[in-house]
Symmetry: C2
Amino acid sequence: MAAILHCSITPNLPSSVHSSLTTYKPMHKEQSYWASINSDIETHLKMSIPIRSPLSVYEPMHHLTLSAPRSMAPALCIAACEVVGGHGHQAIDAAAAVHLMQTAAYTHENLILLDQQKPNLAAHHSYDTNIQLLMGDTILPFAYELLASSDDSTGNNSHKILRVIIELSQAMGTQGMIDGQYKKMQRIGSDDRLIYQVCKKMEGELYSCGAACGAILGGGSDNEIKKLRRYGLYVGLIHGMMLRGIGLGRVKEIKALALKELHYFKNQNIEAITSLVDARLFRSSS
Amino acid sequence: MAAILHCSITPNLPSSVHSSLTTYKPMHKEQSYWASINSDIETHLKMSIPIRSPLSVYEPMHHLTLSAPRSMAPALCIAACEVVGGHGHQAIDAAAAVHLMQTAAYTHENLILLDQQKPNLAAHHSYDTNIQLLMGDTILPFAYELLASSDDSTGNNSHKILRVIIELSQAMGTQGMIDGQYKKMQRIGSDDRLIYQVCKKMEGELYSCGAACGAILGGGSDNEIKKLRRYGLYVGLIHGMMLRGIGLGRVKEIKALALKELHYFKNQNIEAITSLVDARLFRSSS
């Protein structure tokens, strides 16, 4: 869906960004590919979180999940699964879980930021802080439950799902988004080098995790998983930097590093996944 | 260890509790059994959360985990595993995860309660609210990572671990502890019936989950898992009611229901697990 595709990746991009994306061309085919994936994820999320009793819990959970800022990390999860030869539907629960993790982190980050300057990307919730606190705590276990429940009755997929759970936990945890939030919390606003670290830990880890999870579930080899994990890290870094409008002089260099990781897959259909380095593709068209 | 065994289960018990536990006898053998299990869990937690870099994250995580109020739910996880014929060490990660879940919930509940009346059981942290928020968010994924990583290289145990992850997620989520916290947040202080619901959702779900997880990992049948899950619910309910000093007239009745679930295991060694209904066994001796 357009709403989820044209998300908050590049709001109010500085003009310097455009010049750094010298290879940008309108890629309608790829845009359509990502829109279709995002639509599937949106539908899956809506089905997974029905509004049921107790309404006081499910309604805000449903609302926060669907109104939280989006990234392309969940879609990258599906795309990575397909690059290694899997079918996208094998990674749909993991993709939804990636979005849920991001939602939980965002919901709680809003609380940290309450007494600090709100960034432009922060939506304003109508829920009080206690509800936001509880909702973050609800969404996280729900993401794990969704994933763990995706095991088929034969249990043949169990080991892969556990690997995905480890990837997600590490992306969320002390070496990942929590570390990014901690750095962010320390009001490191004006120091570009530190904001770069925040982008790496936040969007970088999230995209990296999304790509690795998709590759695991698609049956990728360890080497394929490793390369897609690194590709995700670079793409997330680019998207994070563009989101914050910092370090834009480095985008070209990071883009080259990202594309280098994809050389390994040159015989596969990588047109769509390659397009993800061009974050301008995902800017709001509204 | 005594510190973890003699936890906050029955602080300042009203005298009516003692009279309701008419079958209480000093059970040194059982006390020693639980102390030994709790010591193993404490050691495992200490080893699992080393104090390493970044210290700003690991130190509070380590401290909060080890200083949070304890319950007997993790020990029940080990005991349930043994009742169905498993070895306690098969359930040690799950037991640690149960404690970590409880710690995460407690850490965030402290934030909810900041502008409300603090119950006697709440410890006072020296960390600011943002750190407590981040720590809760760190501890939860860490619990899942610990569990998922406990899969052996053959992957034979994967399906069981995924079942445990579902149990834990449900105990934490919208039908479990979150629902309990939501009810608690609504300041339902004086209504015994509602506090009973809180006990059921908080301690009840936690103990129930602990028992079910242990039974799953020990290789219990569906029926055994079901019975131990219900036993855990009743024991948790008793411990929760005694902790809050409410509904004590119902303890005897609930205790009978709990013991009924154990009839099924009459040919197994259930002396120790049976002793858990006598919450006075676990009162502080300090």
